[in-house]
Amino acid sequence: MTSAEKWSDRKIEDIVANLLRFGVLLAAAVVLCGALLYLMRHGAEPADYRKFQGEPADLRTLPGIFRGAANWQGRGIIQLGLLLLIATPVARGVRGLWLRCRARPDVCSVHTDRARRPVVQPDRQFLNRMREVAR
């Protein structure tokens, strides 16, 4: 490995790690806010999760969650924070793949198609070489 390649690997790991940290901290902060509101208002109520009822629509769907959060409802804000938490590993997976393709044009390339969606294409020569080596 040349020192230039080593540098970019380390750099990628740093970027992904920072993304993770930021995403998780943000999600945790949002959940904490929601938690404080929720506990202040409902803390003294009895807790019972024995029966499964399914969450109401405004804690399940995206518009419902945003509406609940905008109305300063503790549970809505918590769901928003959970959404951010779920989005974090997905974002870092996509970002990591993207960065790697940019750093190794001989392995794969990224571009956007006409609908502006990202497309990752493995390099054909690279695939053939992998097949040979794996045999």
Binding site: A17, R50, L85
Partner: protein, 278 residues
């Protein structure tokens, strides 16, 4: 008990789950699901939803720290994750066809056997394996910090690892838990990757698989904010403590803890399989 008391207790329990998850590369669901269903009498569907949240929280919380310290091998992780995700899709499809009870029993027995295999540290003679051409081409070999300095390692048997990861994803899609265990075992036993790298890389990987399922669960209404909130916050706190411990811990203790947790998981699987709870 009141919501406040419930939240506090679940938070504490989740901290333990997060701590174990960060140390072993597993998702924390092993501790959390039995804790919620047996002790707190939570319905299993809410418990699984909360467990998924805990897996993502452990994974993301720990992964950031491990990446910065240089333990997780991001290349191994991302490459193997392709296999796991494909497997998870297949597993989700097979869920309606395959009798999960039989599968759970077999899986549990495999886990028990693997716990027996992994508890002993690898002899030092096996530490410096020759480089494998495919692994080198994919630039998977790496190094990680030990108290004695930076230690290099070479990855072996990439195709075997890839297939095992596919199986891990399928199992996780079918049974709902256990993918972390198979990942660590595959990396440790089949690909001869150092234990701390296997567990930290597994931590890094499981977040994405769990995120996909969690999205579906949230939409179906299985994730309750009042329950998921203390789980997420507790697990994050626990996993952050866990990462500090792992960096300084001796691998032999980590292997022991991992084996113990796997034994519990194996027994749980066999019990559930035989009792027809799947």
């Amino acid at each position: 008990m009141t919501v406040f008391e419930f939240t506090l207790l679940v938070w504490l329990g989740s901290m333990v789950a997060g701590l174990l998850g960060a140390l072993t590369g597993l998702g924390g669901g092993v501790v959390l699901v039995p804790l919620l269903t047996l002790f707190f009498k939570v319905d299993i569907r809410y418990a699984i939803g909360a467990s998924l949240v805990s897996v993502i929280a452990t994974s993301s919380g720990a992964a950031a720290a491990y990446l910065k310290e240089g333990f997780s091998n991001i290349r191994i992780g991302m490459f193997l994750e392709i296999a796991t995700t494909l497997g998870a899709v297949l597993g989700a499809f097979l869920a309606s066809i395959v009798p999960a009870t039989a599968l759970a029993t077999i899986f549990g027995s495999v886990l028990l056997y693997s716990a027996y295999l992994s508890r002993k540290p690898r002899p030092k003679s096996e530490w410096n394996t020759p480089p494998d051409p495919l692994a080198t081409r994919l630039r998977m070999n790496g190094s990680f910090p030990t108290p004695e300095g930076i230690r290099h390692y070479n990855v072996q048997r990439v195709p075997a690892g890839f297939s095992l990861m596919f199986g891990a994803g399928a199992l996780s899609g079918l049974l709902g838990i256990g993918s972390g265990a198979v990942k660590v075992l595959a990396m440790d036993q089949a690909m001869k990757i150092p234990f701390k790298v296997s567990t930290t890389t597994s931590n890094f990987m499981i977040g994405v698989t769990a995120a996909a399922s969690a999205g579906v669960y949230l939409n179906r209404g299985y994730i309750d904010p009042g329950l998921a909130m203390p789980v997420m916050l507790g697990v994050l706190a626990g996993s952050l403590i866990g990462t500090h411990i792992l960096i300084k811990a001796e691998t032999r203790w980590l292997r022991l803890i991992f084996s113990l947790v796997i034994v519990v998981l194996g027994i749980e699987m066999i019990y559930k399989g035989l009792a027809g709870r799947f």
